[in-house]
């Protein structure tokens, strides 16, 4: 199934299991979401459990926090990650901090889902990757699946989680894997092994990375769309790299990362988001702190540029296999 169907199924499983789960957002109820991730839920569970919200992100997140403090489990959609900024205050000052400042009396088990990332000609207001704005905030968890099976399992884990989870969905992956070769036809998830999504209610635990490809010479840390870019770059350069899909940025599976870099001695980090203070900067510090004596070359980050996400030059901005491949070669030569 596609990632969209997998996300819908996770909602369905969670709503069937627990009537405290409520789902809402802009166009989410009647229409089933602009990407169709909540299609059919209103028919099945009724308007009190899956419904439309007005266009007011701050209100959407703020009401979810109140519901959660009182025991409901809201799973809300921000239509694109680019629209979350009006809600940023509620997320940072309220959702993330409620548990601490109430000394644990009140908590905020909400999931805020949002399509993220580029590759769809969305320009500056429909392509951003704001993960670092959330990983920087203590009290938030931040998750990004790269395939349908993980999307279902991680969303179930996020809904079950007792704390606020920012659930970032790489929208370029909704219908199929994308390796950055934008001129090639779309491959459907239906023809990809990770499109086989297990039935049932098994969660994929937060904080566990997945090694997508084992390798001896170099470690690539990736998440979201960049997992496929990494696989393509490895195939094209022929370098025996280990590709790690982080899946969850906070909590982070440092153990898997460190074991891999200590084995390979080289590390390249790739993300779509802008470079300065991106999540790659944090990864680089952690790897350096934990693996310094095992490193045989400086760590390299391959990222989006420090510019607004472009309208006209998307493929210059988007870190594709060619740019990543160059970095892989460089790290091997260093």
């Amino acid at each position: 199934m596609t990632m969209i169907e997998a996300i819908r199924e996770a909602h369905d499983v969670a709503m069937a299991a627990d009537d405290k789960v409520v789902v809402y957002g802009e166009d989410v109820g009647f229409f089933g979401g602009v990407f169709r991730c909540t299609a059919g839920l209103q028919e099945k569970y009724g308007k009190s459990r899956c419904f439309d919200a007005p266009i007011n992100e701050s209100g959407i997140v703020g009401t979810a926090i109140g519901m959660a403090a009182y025991g409901l489990k809201p799973v809300i959609e921000i239509q694109f990650a680019d629209y979350v900024y009006p809600a940023y205050d509620q997320i940072v000052s309220e959702a993330a901090r409620l548990r601490h400042r109430s000394n644990g009396d009140f908590t905020c088990p909400i999931v805020i889902r949002m399509p993220t990332g580029g590759g769809i000609f969305g320009g500056q207001t429909h392509s951003q990757s704001p993960e670092a704005l959330f990983t920087h905030v203590s009290g938030l968890k931040v998750v990004m699946p790269s395939n349908p099976a993980d999307a279902k399992g991680l969303l179930l884990a996020s809904i079950a989680d007792p704390d606020p989870v920012i659930f970032l969905e790489p929208k370029r992956l909704y219908n199929g894997p994308f390796d950055g070769h934008h001129d090639k036809p779309l491959v459907s998830w239906k023809k990809h092994p990770l499109g086989d999504v297990p039935d049932g209610s098994d969660a994929v635990p937060l904080g566990k990375a997945k090694i997508r490809r084992e390798g001896a010479d170099l470690t690539i840390l990736a998440y979201g769309t960049m997992v496929y870019v990494a696989e393509a770059a490895v195939a094209e350069t022929g370098i025996d790299a280990e590709v790690i899909d982080l899946r969850s940025l906070m909590p982070l599976d440092l153990e898997t990362i460190v074991a891999s870099v200590q084995k390979t001695g080289r590390c390249v980090i790739v993300h779509e988001a802008t470079r300065t203070c991106g999540f790659g900067a944090e990864l680089m510090s952690l790897v350096q702190e934990s693996c310094f004596y095992h490193l045989e070359a400086p760590i390299i980050r391959v990222t989006g540029w420090d510019t607004p996400y472009p309208h006209a030059q998307e493929w210059e901005y988007f870190p594709g296999p060619a740019r990543l491949g160059e970095a892989l070669n460089k790290v091997m030569e260093d």
């Binding site: 009647f30 007011n56 209100g59 680019d82 207001t125 510019t307």
Partner: protein, 329 residues
């Protein structure tokens, strides 16, 4: 501060009617062409057409004077054409070319013109509303008699910052006309599913801002109401709200098949209330123009639009260095 409905007809000259016809037709044909270029893959990403809403901006512009400002959302092509921005420059921005009004940096949703006092297209719903009040603040500060037309949609009308702005505009008596383009839908959500009041302009009462609902399919009604709103602002009486009831014929954007409403609903609007057809009828029945006159105008407009499309196709891609310009001074 009772709101009133506009009912009476404006006296309008034949020349003015012809101009309305031209201006609305230009928007319609431009948008149809943009839709075609999109279908051909020359325009990508997000592209929101204004087809059906032409009378709103054309009626509003009829009340504008040199130096008045306008600011709107991402559904902005019509506003730019109506205030006289170059059709080729708009189309080339859609195709992301060097000749585009933002040199390919903005795309369909983000264009600007100092010369025409157009402060943009803005992609984030509601974000332009406080900016519009800021522009009006500057006019008031300069005491220059100008007004700002701040456009937003029925969906945007639920963003909190709209009401923060209403309050500020009211306490500071800002010369701003808030134009709510109520096309009954915010993406796939019908107004009644998201909005507490059927008449959004009535929300202004809570802030002491007068307003009214206007038939947005009739350019003359829009013009008449706009004149009232502008006179109010220019007289120093503070903001005014026009809720212009309109309809978009196409999907929310090019990627929206609009399955949330019926074909019949759209068809009814098109056949009974089309703003361009209404003016066409007035022109013909009033004997202000013949079929041949109108054909000549159609041809003229077709040429302008084709030229814009050719420009948008042939203007070169912006250089890569443009990615790095205009981020800082």
């Amino acid at each position: 501060m009772a709101a009133r409905k506009s009912t009476k007809k404006t006296n309008v000259s034949a020349d003015e009617l012809l101009q309305f016809y031209r201006d609305m037709l230009l928007i319609r044909r431009f948008e149809e062409k943009a839709g075609q270029l999109y279908g051909m893959g020359l325009i990508g990403g997000f592209c929101h057409l204004y087809i059906g809403q032409e009378a709103v901006v054309v009626g509003l512009e009829a009340a504008a004077e040199e130096g008045d400002k306008r600011i709107t959302s991402y559904r902005d092509h019509g506003h730019m054409l109506a205030c006289g921005m170059d059709a080729g420059g708009v189309m080339a921005e859609l195709t992301g070319r060097e000749g585009g009004l933002s040199k390919g940096k903005g795309g369909s949703m983000h264009m600007f013109s100092k010369e025409k006092h157009f402060y943009g297209g803005h992609g984030i719903v509601g974000a332009q509303v406080p900016l519009g009040a800021g522009l009006a603040f500057a006019d008031k500060y300069l005491d220059n008699g100008r007004v700002t037309f701040t456009y937003f949609g029925d969906g945007a009308a639920n963003q909190g910052q709209v009401y923060e702005t209403f309050n500020m505009a009211a306490i500071w008596d800002l010369p701003v006309v808030f134009v709510i383009e109520n096309n009954q839908y915010a993406m796939g959500t019908a107004q009644a599913r998201s909005t507490s009041t059927p008449d959004i302009y009535t929300r202004g009462e809570a802030f002491g801002i007068p307003g009214e609902a206007v038939d947005g399919m009739n350019v003359l009604s829009v013009k008449e109401a706009s004149e009232r709103a502008v006179a109010h602002c220019r007289a120093g009486k503070g903001p005014y709200i026009l809720e212009v009831k309109t309809y978009r014929y196409r999907g929310h954007s090019m990627s929206d098949p609009a399955k949330y409403r019926t074909r019949e609903e759209v068809q009814k609007m098109r056949s009974e209330r089309d703003p361009i057809e209404q003016v066409r009828d007035m022109l013909l029945t009033g004997k202000h123009a013949s079929e041949d006159d109108l054909k000549a105008i159609d041809k003229e407009i077709k040429d302008v639009v084709n030229e814009a499309a050719d420009f948008a196709r042939t203007s070169p891609e912006p250089g890569l260095e443009e990615l790095w310009t205009d981020i800082y001074a």
